[in-house]
Symmetry: C2
Subunit: 300 residues, 2 copies
Amino acid sequence: MIAVTILGNNSAVPAFDRHPTSQLITINGTTILVDCGEGTQIQMMRYKIRRAKISHIFISHLHGDHYFGLVGLISSLGLLNHLQELHVFGPSPLQEIIELQLKLSNTILPFQLYFHTIVKEGLLLVGSNYEVSCFNTNHRIECYGFVFCEKKKNRKLNLEKIKEFEIPTSFYKKLEEGIDYTTKDNRLIKNSDVTFPPTKGKTYAYCADTKYDEAIIPFVHGADMIYHETTYLDNLKERAELRFHSTSKQAAWIAKKACVKKLLIGHFSSKYAELDEFEKECKEVFENTAIAQEGVSYYV
Amino acid sequence: MIAVTILGNNSAVPAFDRHPTSQLITINGTTILVDCGEGTQIQMMRYKIRRAKISHIFISHLHGDHYFGLVGLISSLGLLNHLQELHVFGPSPLQEIIELQLKLSNTILPFQLYFHTIVKEGLLLVGSNYEVSCFNTNHRIECYGFVFCEKKKNRKLNLEKIKEFEIPTSFYKKLEEGIDYTTKDNRLIKNSDVTFPPTKGKTYAYCADTKYDEAIIPFVHGADMIYHETTYLDNLKERAELRFHSTSKQAAWIAKKACVKKLLIGHFSSKYAELDEFEKECKEVFENTAIAQEGVSYYV
């Protein structure tokens, strides 16, 4: 299961009690932060999320509304005597910016902080039961989207067959791991004869900031849920194009063309006090759309 | 009149809906921000304070809880198309940190941003009706306190004498400016014979982060109000000493010895959920003490 908790759903300037971009992703027990606008740690406190749970942070690009909260979060983890190692992935020179500020404040972190500079699209992280890869989006500066996939390793038991071959329950776990069974009279029962392949893991794709660009479709195709920015309503298509952002309907078209199951929308311009129209416009193109509401968790 | 509005009253880590240090100072029509911890601009929105009013920002030192919100605030002013020039005063290399981040995000500000690197104590800024000076505090890294003084230029009219010399009301403004009056029959009336000297301007001193150090007393002596940090209650005097911070009673002793009129206390450690005890302990030494409450304005 993947859970996506929205910490900030606004674009550049905080407004209407909406905050700059940040999302918390829980994937098979691992807690990952995606983007970290100013005030992210304060939002986490508001929603009673323990900062110390985070082991990985992915920063899509170096516009301030996506990373100005990072150095504060890292500093706080240090002051809270966090000990678990922390891995930060982002474009160059994120590492330089963060390390400069930590150095100037004489901060010595009590945990290992690893920076991983993203240089091109592809696989970024392989966990025991999940993977994270990235793809280029079409924005004003170097910018990456991220795809989070569950890895399902366990095969499913075919209970009918298992009973037929009289395999003891103590061997079930090994069957799930793909191991063959040998009977007492030395007959080999091939694993594939008594199990089904693993179910497909869930996939969530975060499309970061981007103008409308169908080039991202292959990377998010068939995802269970994608987040796509909708900075503007559809009547401001030209402004969106000019500023390398997307409109409501453009996000919905990406969702539709990529055959995803669900669309989350966010990164709303501060010019909009109300958001209902975004959902309405998207649903004209792609029905299963939801506004990424701050403090709400969306499950895949 | 000087008004001090508290935007953040907590120490390093935000907690209990208390935020890192920031104060807004309004002095004779000029709006000044002192320190700018993460989330300061969000606090301003919460308390309906227009970010665009700020013309000067003073940063006491480069611990993150005093400046991590600065680059976000500057970026937002740019995005909001703020046009008034902005002056930032702080220790080196604040300018380098901010400029690096603006450069990396391709930010071109629509207003002039001037950095003034503080290198030693003394006068920093002379406005038409106020002055700002700074003094060294005793902290783990280079750190400055700030003194904000009203300049009262206008002399007070001595109405009794003015009537006696039959000076017309149209000349009152010039009398306030210190100009002598010449009667119709060419008699010189000396200004000092018909006016009193200007009243003394109000003074507010912000003592930043500091351990207990009587060396700051001469700089804040006789102030109408001072803000002094009280990171810990008095039973943690040793921890305060070790971390270059102060306790409740230490702040109160500085206020008492400096003969100030009022003491504001803040920069509370995140270990304290309740703050009443801080006020109680201070008042045992210095009666006119108030907790710097977020969202509240204190008038001098």
